[in-house]
Structures are given as C-alpha cells and as structure tokens.
Symmetry: C2
C-alpha cells in the first residue's frame, strides 16, 4: 500500500517558491469563502509515521491561513475528568463549527492504533474501534462535515535517515528522543497496522490520502492541493466557487493615508524605545536557532512540571506580531500550544462579561496559549472606537490586573509583549502588503482608519502600560521596526521568563 509513497518525491526550493504564493492565496480565498458563505465545517486529520512531518505541516498551514477561522486540536493524555467520560467526549467537544476548519493531531486514531501496534489489543478489538471511528465520521459527514485524513508516510530507511540527520546536527539533535527510535524498531508492525487502518476506514465520506513525507516542500504542496481540491469540489456542488475578490477589501487600496500630525505634548512610554535597534541577517539566523532550541527544551520541562504559559501580543497593525509568533511555533509540540485570535463574539460570549471569552479558553497542564491580540482590546480598540463607555474601559484596567494576578498566582507563566513600530515603518509595510498576493487579504480599510488614529492608539497604549504593567505581570516593550531584532527579543524574553519560573519551582 505504501510503495507509491516511497518514490522519494521532492520539490525543489525554486518550484516551491514559484507555486506556493498562488496556492497560499487560493487556500485563503477558499477558507474565507467557507467562513462567509458555506454551512459546513471541515475536519482534517493527520496521522502516520513519526518524523513524516505531521506537526510541521500543521504549523505551516497555520502560517499560511487565517488563524481566526481554524483551530488545531492535538490530544495528549486524557485528564482525570476526561477519563470519566466517554472516550469521544474530547472529539465532540472540539468539533469545528460550520464555516471553520479543525486540524487534528493524535486524535481518534491514535490510541487504538498504538494499542494495536504494541499488541495491547487483539485484531478483533481493533476492528471494533475502527467501526466506532467510522460511525463518528459517518454521523459528521451526514451532517455536512467535509472530512479529510492524511497519512504521512516514510519508508523504513527514510525514517532512519531522517532521525540520523537530525541527530548528527547539534542544532537539531534535540528533536530526536529515545521513543522515536523505539517506534522505528517497530516499523514493520507499524506499517502492517497502518494498512489495516486505512483499508478499513478509507470511506467516500472520510477518505485517506497517503502523503510521502520525505520532503517538506513536497508534502506541504501536496496536502494543500488536496485540501484545496476537496474544498473546491464541495463549493462547486453548492453552486459557487470563491473568487479572489472576496478577499480584497477595496477600501484597503483606495483609501488615502490620513494620519494626522503628532499632537503637541504627545509623550508616551514608547518614546523611550530605541526604534533603530536592529540585527543583521547572519546574526539573526544564529540567534534564532539558539533561542528556538533553548525554548524547546525549556518548554519540554514546563510540560513535565505542568507549568502553563500565556503569551499576549499587542501593538499597532503590521508590527510583526504574527511573524514573531510563527518563529516560536517550530519550537513547540503541536499538542501543547494554541494560537488564539478573537473575531466577532458568539452570542454565548456576547451574553456575558467581556472577560468570559478569554477565561473559557484557558488551558492547563503545561500548555502554551498565545493570544494574538487579547483582552486588552477593551482598553484599546473598544476605547478608541467608543464600543466601551469611558466607565467601562476605565474600570477594565483593574479587572484585567485582577485576571492576570489570578493567572500568575495559579502558576501560569504570563508574558505580555508590546511590539512597537513607527508610523513610517507601518506605512512601508502597508505598501508592501499590496505587492504580495497572500498578504493583500490582510489589508482592510480598517487598517487605514486605525492608522489615522495613530496617536490616540499610542496614548491608549501608554495607559495600558501605565496601569497594567505591574511587578506581577510587566509589559515587555519591543522596538519592532526591525523584524529580526523584534523576533529574537521575543524569543529571548520568553526563554528568560521560562527559565526563571522553572528554576523557582525546583
């Protein structure tokens, strides 16, 4: 079965670079079309051989697509409470809503599969588990869910080679552990159970796609193309394909820059930053590897100790929050982090205190949660746009401090980053976005309207630092005119927080 995925297919960097921008663009179009005009959800599962790039493919899709419209669910050991409920409780809980995409890692196939590989269950028991999986997939597909399953494959030799290559480079040796080799020893057994799994559950409503995992460029292009094709086929069936125009907000390119002059006496905490701080590319690459390795190891220890982290990113549009977050992701195990961006509140959220939608997403047990914009919206955009009354946003400072105190008290490592840029730098980046097709969608008229209020935002940001930079949870102000500098600052600072917190709890 897997012979066809052992051809050693690779995609050159050149081809990848020439094809990925359009693919990326079309994936985004499809994703936004799905969210705006379609009434079905999408569930995508990744399974397969260790080292075949399940996690890195998800990370890449995360970087390519709109994170507000998708979630990644990666399942670790069930908690005490989970174990008292039906096994599928977690999978039901995490079902994507219509219009959204969920990427699943180590989901419903994982435990039954490994139980069978290790011989903890009989073949009959395994078949019964697969039947349960089928019933689940069937029920969701009947309800309209688009289900895709990717089996990431590596030949026995390729897996060995991959592990050896990683081990031989001191920069990547940390990625390999003893368990990887144990799994490799069981390769034949693994492939045998895999064949059985795919044969039994390769249905028309939840098909498997076997992906050759040797080459990163190849697998990301292949997965993206299959996903795009499946989406388009479904769009076609419902009568309309997405068009590139859905993405482009006309205002984004027609509005004139109306930023006002700096008001007299406008002095903020951001004036103290050295906005010329920068880092050369060679230096950056070296430091990036170093910090990523450091965070990976620290984060592994944090997981052992059950210490969760919450990272908050705020700052002007185009300050590079997303880029900094994407440099952090590769250091993490996809099971243990979640990047959250908040769009329009749901009606359940609207019906409660504004902090409720943040409380409800808190994670425990060593997880990392990244808030790409956060509860500070209350005292930034809501303040400036008048969505919150003065009374509301003024008291929010104390409410937020109280919330953060409780987070820190419970042992959570909280790091708050404010990435700052100058108005000129923002203008340059806005102009740059117009050029790259997969960045065009990011621009909206909103960005220009926010920019027009630059100094109001800076003042609000100043108040944020003034009232919520406490000794318990200080703000980390990062000059971000130079992306390299800002990214390393973020990684290094987070590493320092982790190191300190883990040392304290020793």
């Amino acid at each position: 079965m897997f012979r066809a995925a052992e051809l050693g297919q690779t995609t050159s960097k050149r081809i990848f670079k020439s094809r990925s921008p359009e693919l990326r663009q079309r994936l985004l179009e499809a994703q936004i079309h799905l969210s705006r005009n379609c009434d079905f959800g999408v569930m995508i599962d990744f399974a397969g051989v260790d080292g075949a790039g399940k996690g890195s493919t998800v990370n890449m899709l995360h970087a390519w697509m709109d994170t507000r419209l998708m979630t990644t669910n990666a399942y670790g050991r069930p908690t005490e409470a989970d174990r008292m409920l039906p096994k599928y409780w977690r999978f039901w809980r995490d079902l994507p809503r219509r219009g959204r995409i969920a990427f699943n890692l180590r989901a419903r196939y994982s435990t039954p599969f490994l139980d069978r590989v290790y011989g903890r269950t009989t073949d009959l028991e395994y078949i019964a588990e697969l039947k349960r999986i089928q019933a689940f997939e069937r029920a969701l597909a009947d309800d309209g869910m688009l289900i895709l399953k990717f089996w990431m494959h590596l030949s026995r030799d390729a897996q060995k080679q991959r592990l050896e290559t990683l081990e031989s480079d001191p920069e990547t040796a940390w990625r390999v552990n003893k368990r990887d080799w144990e799994h490799w020893e069981l390769y034949e057994r693994f492939v045998q159970v895999a064949e059985r799994t795919i044969t039994e559950t390769n249905t028309n409503y939840a098909p498997w796609h076997i992906i050759e995992g040797v080459d990163e460029n190849h697998r990301i292009l292949t997965v993206s193309e299959i996903l795009l094709e499946a989406l388009n086929k479904r769009f076609d069936a419902t009568g309309h394909l997405p068009s590139p125009e859905v993405l482009v907000d006309k205002d984004a390119f027609e509005v004139k820059d109306t930023i006002v002059d700096k008001p007299e006496g406008h002095v903020t905490v951001f004036d103290t930053l050295d906005m010329t701080a920068s880092l050369k590319k060679a230096n950056y690459q070296r430091k990036l590897s170093k910090q990523q390795r450091r965070i990976h190891l620290l984060q592994r220890e944090a997981l052992n100790q059950g210490r969760s982290s919450v990272l908050v990113f705020e700052g002007p549009d185009a300050a590079g929050k997303g880029g900094a977050i994407r440099r952090l992701i590769p250091t993490l195990d996809a099971r243990n982090y979640r990047v959250l961006q908040y769009g329009k509140p749901t009606d359940e959220e609207n019906a409660r205190h504004y902090l409720w939608r943040f409380w409800r997403r808190l994670q425990h047990g060593g997880h990392l949660t990244v808030f790409d914009r956060s509860w500070y919206g209350r005292v930034l955009v809501e303040r400036i746009e008048g969505f919150a009354t003065e009374n509301e946003w003024r008291r929010a400072f104390a409410e937020i401090n109280d919330f953060e105190d409780q987070l820190v008290e419970s042992g959570t490592i909280l790091v708050k980053f404010w990435l700052h840029i100058t108005p000129d730098e923002q203008l340059k980046r806005f102009e740059g976005r117009k050029q790259k097709p997969f960045k065009r969608w990011k621009m909206t008229g909103e960005d220009w309207r926010n920019r027009a209020k630059w100094y109001e935002y800076e003042e609000a940001g100043h108040d944020v630092v003034k009232y919520t930079s406490t000794h318990i949870s200080p703000w980390e102000l990062v000059p971000a005119n130079n992306k390299n500098f800002a990214r390393i600052e973020v990684l290094q600072t987070f590493g320092d927080y982790l190191e300190k917190a883990l040392k304290e709890s020793e």
Copy 2:
C-alpha cells in the same frame, strides 16, 4: 449580627398555602420577563449553617420556576484539571448569560470560609480572599449582573435540634452524618467567621440577606420575596415591570381540542401498557419515603465510586415528567445533580451536529444529569414537525444508539423513561392547568397543536422504542395516568439500575 435571625420565625402551612401560589406566579413572570426583555444576568448565592436549608431552598426554587431559564452550580472538590487553573476558573465558566438566573451552592465563599474556620489560614489571608471575591462581584455587577447572597442561619440550639430531629426518625436519619456534628462543635467559631465575612462583603452591588433557616415555609417565602423585590426594583429602573399577560399564551385557552380519531390499524408498543395501574395515597407516601431513602444511599455510593448517571425523560405533554423529577430531587445533594431542559439552540450549538449540545453538557465523577426531554427530540418533534428531513431522523436512530453505547461503556448509568398517558388523561390535565395560576404559563397553543397530532407522536414514540430500546439501554415504559404510580415506578426503577450497576462494579 445573627440575633435577628434567631427569632424562631415560622410560617404556618395555611399561610404558606395561601401566599405561595401568587408568589410562585409572580416569580415565574419575573423570570420570563427577565429572559425575554432584559439584558442582565442574575447570580444568587446560598451559604450558611449546615441544615439551614440551602439545598432544599434551591430545590424548591427549582420546582417553582422554569428550569430552562436557570442553572444551579454547586461546587465539589476541584478536579485535577481545575486545580491547574486559577481558582475562579470554575466560577467564570459558569457565569449565567444575560436573561438567565444561576443559583450557586458552595461557590467562591466556601473554601476560604472553611479554611478560616478550621484555622488553616490567618485572618489576613482571609481578608485577601474576601477582597478577591469583592473584585469578582464588582466586575460582574459593573457589567450589569444582579447579585444576591443569602446567608441561611440557625442558632446553635436550633441546629442541634434539627440534627437530633432528623436522627430520631428512621425515615430521615440518613440525612445526618458525622461531619454535620463536627461542624456543630465548631459553631461559635463558624458564626464568628460568618460575621466577618458578611461585614466585609456586604456591598450595595452584592448584598447579603440573612435568612432564619428554622422553618422551611418561612425561608422559602422570605427568599422568594427578596428575590422578587430585587428583580422588580431592577425592572423598574429599566422602565418596565413584567405583566401577567407575558406568561399566558392566548392560544392555550382559545384553541379547540382537535385531536383526531385513532387511525385504523394504529397499534403501538404503548398499547401493551396497563394504563389503569394506580397507587393509593397512603401506599404512595410510604413507598415514596422508602424509595427516596434508598436512592439517597445508593447515589452516595455512586458518588464514592465515581459512577455518573444520566436519566432521560420522554413522553406526551403533561405526562408528569416534571413531577416525577421533582420527587427524585430531594434525595440528591444539590452539588451532584443537574436537570437540563433544552430550549432554542444557541448559535454555537446551531453551528454543529445536533448531538453536540448534549455531549457538551455531560458530567463526570458520580454526577447525575436529568434530561427533561433530550436528544430524542430529533426523532420525535423534529420528525413530526418536519424540522429534520426523513434522511436526518432515520439515521438519527443509529447515531443515538452509538451515543448511548458510548455513555454506557464509559460506566455511566443510563436510564430512559417514557411516561405514557391516554389522550383523555391529557385533556383532563390540560383543563386542570387552566385553573392553577402557576401552571397556566405551562400551557401554550403548542400543546394543543401537539395534541392534535397525538397518534403521529405515538407512532414516532413506537419507532423510538423499536429502534433504540437496546439490551444496553432499554426504554422503561411507565403507565402514568396515575401520577402516584408513575412516580414510584420511576424511583424504584432508577434504584434498581443503581443497585445493579454498583453491585457489578464491586
């Protein structure tokens, strides 16, 4: 401070009977007005002396009001996952939405209070905890939440007497345990900390009301009146009080009975029931006490073993589902049960598979969840009213079986009751509802429209039994023309299930 609540105030049965119907009616009006026209939530906390009727007051309010528009949150020991999150995580999670009422037992005051009584914390530490509570209440009140707190009081002698009275009657002795007496020994200390608590947290935005807990009639009337007054005061401030008409659906009293004749060849599983089965009042009272005691003890054991139960109630309108459930409630600790009725789905629910809203409410760890109507709506009302297509409701049988299999497999004790009545009995009960003011609101034109489709519903019910009465989760068909008979049947059957399940797991 508590002298004013040691007057031995009682309310005679006669006075209670004369005042409660109107109070009940007005509470309901207020509750429905709140849900339909108001944009604030209501949070009501019960704390105080053991045996002063916290749980029974909540149970009574549960019986009086519309359970669809309220929840009871009672906090036991935090789970492993809870402990990794900020302490207030559970309280935030359970915030009532605007328009809804939450009753809290053993909530945010409980652990800090007992820690202080037992001397596990210092006075300073306690004050810090109370400040945190204040900040929480303040934030919610600022957001519009109406917060009321009831301190249920008993004098030292009254508490002793209450415990002794319960112990002396073999019918109620099971209600008293060793821990109750331990608490009683600490009475002075308890009252001292209580005074401190109330003094420090008796704010205008979250006031305490001290209630004399000696007499059940007195405390339920007092609590209800305070609640009603607070609601009305708030309604008044927003410009409109509820009117009795909001409750009464004109259709309910103007529509003519249009039940069709029994179609030829209409034979269902319900024809096999002996609909004349009945039970005399004296017999009923005796059996009721016996079964309630039995379930209380079994349920306590189930809690020890962490065995959860799910009870499903289905059957025609006015079959007595609510009445049967209310006979079960007094046997339970308010911390460990939840009665769920499902109204209109929220947008988060609408955006997913129809079973999602049931999965998401599953409880673990020995909890009892009662579904007053359930997922069977898919194959009953949705089938008959055409809200689900034939394909949808036909495949629902298999989906439901699969869901229930998983519940049972995970160790949940699942009991499904179908309470059945004859069309004549239903008519009699509908007519009866017109008379009692606090029952009038229950009647809607919908009831008559459903009644007109009596035989369609019976046929759908027949299919429900046919396709979903499996050996793993059979239906318990209960002839319910006689309420006494049906209630005892329900209690006895549930007791049998519990007994069998607990014996098996020994």
